[in-house]
């Protein structure tokens, strides 16, 4: 009786964000708190809504390419990939094999870059100031490699309908192989600094346990889902591009706590390195752009394409109406569903645990708001 009375009188509301050092982007979470315990977290979105889907409806489908990169700027190439594959599926455009291989290599490089940034940002939220700089150092190498062929460091607009815009050269292949060797050695450092760090383990183990049932109910995908024990990866379950030709594993966690999600992502980086190695070994010769009609007309009807972005399943849904301008483009982003379980997950936890959970979900708010 006295305890609940005390809790009643001690309730207050705290605004976490929109400007906050550890919500990754402009996210407002209204916390109803009692002391240090969060009673009810309610996320509020929309601070960075930039009307990408409306833009897709207002201009020819070719002009939407730069938008795809800006939705999730940390991991832009899978977004590119989803969109160009969508239009290729809709309009029946063929992609040469060399272009598919290049797409896979660059997408996986981008996935590694995204996970490295996530690792640094997650640990920064937990108070370790050093891993983010190590992660950024490694990321610089990836960004340099990709800058040579794509021209941009962050918001890549490299893929085109029917292939990619520029061919890769020997410099790219050599630099990527050197990078793979380097990163494998760096993983040892991360292992010692982070994974075996007792304080980190205490902040991440048994925190924010997402049960498999909860994950499926909320539509959580990506490493968050795999951390809960469900081995679902779009690259394996709904294969696209040339992924069926590569041999890689899907790391799966057991419990669904923050540590499992962390381990899944770390192991995913290693698997991405495997994919890149195999792709570089088997890189076929040939053109990098297929035949694309001058004016792309999107036939009436709908079409869907799903890819595995760094955060989960990203799918584009297009409704065409016979012209070159889509009637409706709906983008299903992984972070939106990943965040939606927060009110149920965050009931009655401590504030530092909320920070840890948010960090382990790997949310990028601009992709949520589009």
């Amino acid at each position: 009786m006295l305890e609940s009375d005390f809790q009643e009188r001690n309730r207050f509301f705290l605004n976490m964000g929109p400007q906050h050092p550890s919500t990754h982007g402009v996210l407002l979470i209204v916390l109803e708190m009692s002391g240090e315990y969060v009673l009810d977290p309610q996320p509020v979105l929309g601070f960075i809504h930039r009307m990408h889907e409306k833009m897709a409806e207002s201009r020819p489908c070719q002009s939407f390419m730069p938008n795809t990169a800006r939705m999730d700027y940390v991991c832009a190439l899978p977004y590119n990939h989803g969109y160009v594959s969508l239009i290729e599926r809709k309009a029946g455009i063929e992609v040469p094999r060399r272009a598919e291989y290049i797409r896979v290599i660059t997408s996986e490089l981008n996935r590694i870059a995204s996970h490295l940034l996530w690792l640094g940002a997650y640990l920064l939220d937990l108070g370790a100031f050093t891993p983010i700089l190590y992660g950024f150092d490694d990321r610089e190498h990836i960004l340099d490699i990709l800058e040579d062929i794509t021209g941009s460091r962050l918001t890549y607009c490299y893929y085109r309908f029917g292939g990619v815009s520029r061919d890769i050269d020997d410099k790219f292949v050599d630099a990527t192989r050197a990078f793979i060797k380097r990163l494998r050695k760096r993983f040892v450092i991360y292992e010692k600094l982070v994974t075996k760090n007792i304080i980190f383990i205490k902040r991440a183990e048994n925190i924010g346990i997402v049960s498999p049932d909860m994950a499926i109910r909320y539509g959580i995908t990506g490493p968050n889902l795999r951390g809960s024990g469900i081995a679902y990866d779009v690259r394996k379950n709904e294969p696209y591009s040339v992924y069926p030709e590569f041999d890689f594993e899907i790391p799966v966690g057991e419990q669904g706590d923050c540590l499992d999600r962390y381990m899944v992502r770390v192991r995913e980086m290693e698997q991405s390195l495997r994919i890149i190695e195999q792709a570089l070994d088997r890189l076929p010769e040939g053109p990098v752009r297929g035949k694309v009609p001058k004016n792309i007309k999107l036939s009436p009807g709908d079409c869907n394409f799903a890819v595995e972005a760094a955060r989960g399943e990203l799918s584009y849904y297009l409704v065409g109406d016979g012209t070159g301008v889509p009637y409706r483009l709906k983008i299903r982003v992984p972070s939106y569903s990943n965040l939606s379980c927060l009110p149920e997950l965050g009931r009655g936890i401590l504030l530092p645990d909320l920070v840890s959970i948010l960090g382990s979900f790997d949310l990028v708010i601009p992709e949520m708001d589009r």
């Binding site: 108070g127 050093t130 600094l193 304080i199 902040r203």
Partner: protein, 327 residues
């Protein structure tokens, strides 16, 4: 307890000592700030400040000038007296312990019989300034930080006291000069390694340094109890924090690492200060390295650690020490 009458020579000596100590504080803050940024940089694979002066030596001085020139913002609706007083409150209790620390055989401002107790009591006063800052800022985040700071400081004072008590049991005195004197043959760190470890860890928590820096947890509470301070107020908090670290390291040196004892130097009674500073800065270097290596502990884990691990260990340590002394 003998009283030394305040004759003019003694008075002049005290005044000079206080002036030297206060100026040393600022110099120490500058040096430690520089050291911290350079070490942080090199740990993080970057060079740290390099622009201003040779390898960035003048960086902190320039920072000091910048902070002096900043507008002293006082947010709307705060308690003006409390808000203004808090930085001063955090700066003053850290000056006083330096008066009793023996820098070398002849260099000590005042050797109190109860020197050790005096230092610990000043550490407790330190907490009050955090609370005043947090309350006076009229900001939920600051209040959070202040409450955490109070709970943390109170919890970690006990392991500090108990580990100091182990040394006192061995020397039979609270006077710092005599404790250093008793370490002529062997440093106490060899006789009391557990107490040394507990003291350093609890000292880190007492000064709110990472991994125990929850009161100023940047990523959770946007700078905690000093969110609303700008300019000189902010820098006073920081000078206070660095000085507190210095005091913790000096007390650890005095109690465990043999104070000013070291290989023989000419004018040994005065130049013992060189060994003292070497040891203190070695400990400070360790403290800074720890900050940039470990993430932050969660608050309840912090308190758990103090009450369930540090306190029992230090109690057992005292028990063993007492038994061994009796034998």
């Amino acid at each position: 307890m003998e009283t030394i009458s305040m004759l003019p020579p003694e008075l002049i000596r005290m005044v000079i000592a206080v002036i030297i100590i206060i100026s040393f504080l600022f110099i120490n803050a500058i040096m430690m700030g520089y050291l911290e940024r350079k070490i942080a940089g090199h740990v993080q694979r970057r060079p740290g400040p390099m622009e201003v002066g040779f390898h960035g030596i003048l960086q902190l001085i320039v920072d000091g000038v910048k902070l002096l020139a900043k507008e002293l913002l006082i947010p709307f609706n705060v308690d003006r007296t409390l808000f203004r007083v808090a930085p001063l409150l955090s700066f003053t209790p850290v000056i006083l312990p330096l008066l009793v620390i023996p820098f070398s055989e002849k260099l000590q401002a005042r050797d109190l019989n109860l020197g050790l107790i005096f230092i610990v009591s000043m550490g407790s006063v330190n907490v009050m300034s955090l609370l005043v800052a947090g309350w006076g800022s009229n900001n939920k985040y600051s209040m959070f930080g202040a409450m955490r700071a109070v709970a943390q400081s109170i919890a970690y004072e006990i392991p500090i006291l108990l580990s100091m008590l182990a040394v006192v049991l061995m020397c039979n005195t609270f006077s710092l000069k005599e404790i250093v004197g008793a370490q002529e043959k062997i440093w106490f760190v060899c006789l009391q390694p557990v107490a040394f470890l507990i003291y350093v860890i609890a000292g880190l928590a007492e000064t709110n340094r990472a991994p125990f820096d929850l009161p100023e947890a940047e990523s959770e509470l946007t700078a905690g109890f000093h969110t609303e301070y700008s300019g000189m107020g902010f820098s006073l908090f920081f000078i206070g924090e660095y000085t507190n670290m210095f005091i913790v390291a000096s007390v650890a040196t005095v109690l465990f690492l043999g104070g000013w004892h070291g290989p023989h130097l000419p004018y040994g009674e005065y130049l013992g200060i060189v060994w003292f500073f070497l040891k203190v800065y070695f400990l400070l270097f360790l403290m800074i390295m720890v900050r940039w290596t470990y993430p932050r502990v969660r608050f309840d884990q912090l308190l758990n650690f103090a009450w369930k691990y540090l306190v029992p260990f230090s109690l057992v340590n005292i028990l063993i020490t007492a038994v061994l002394i009796k034998l």
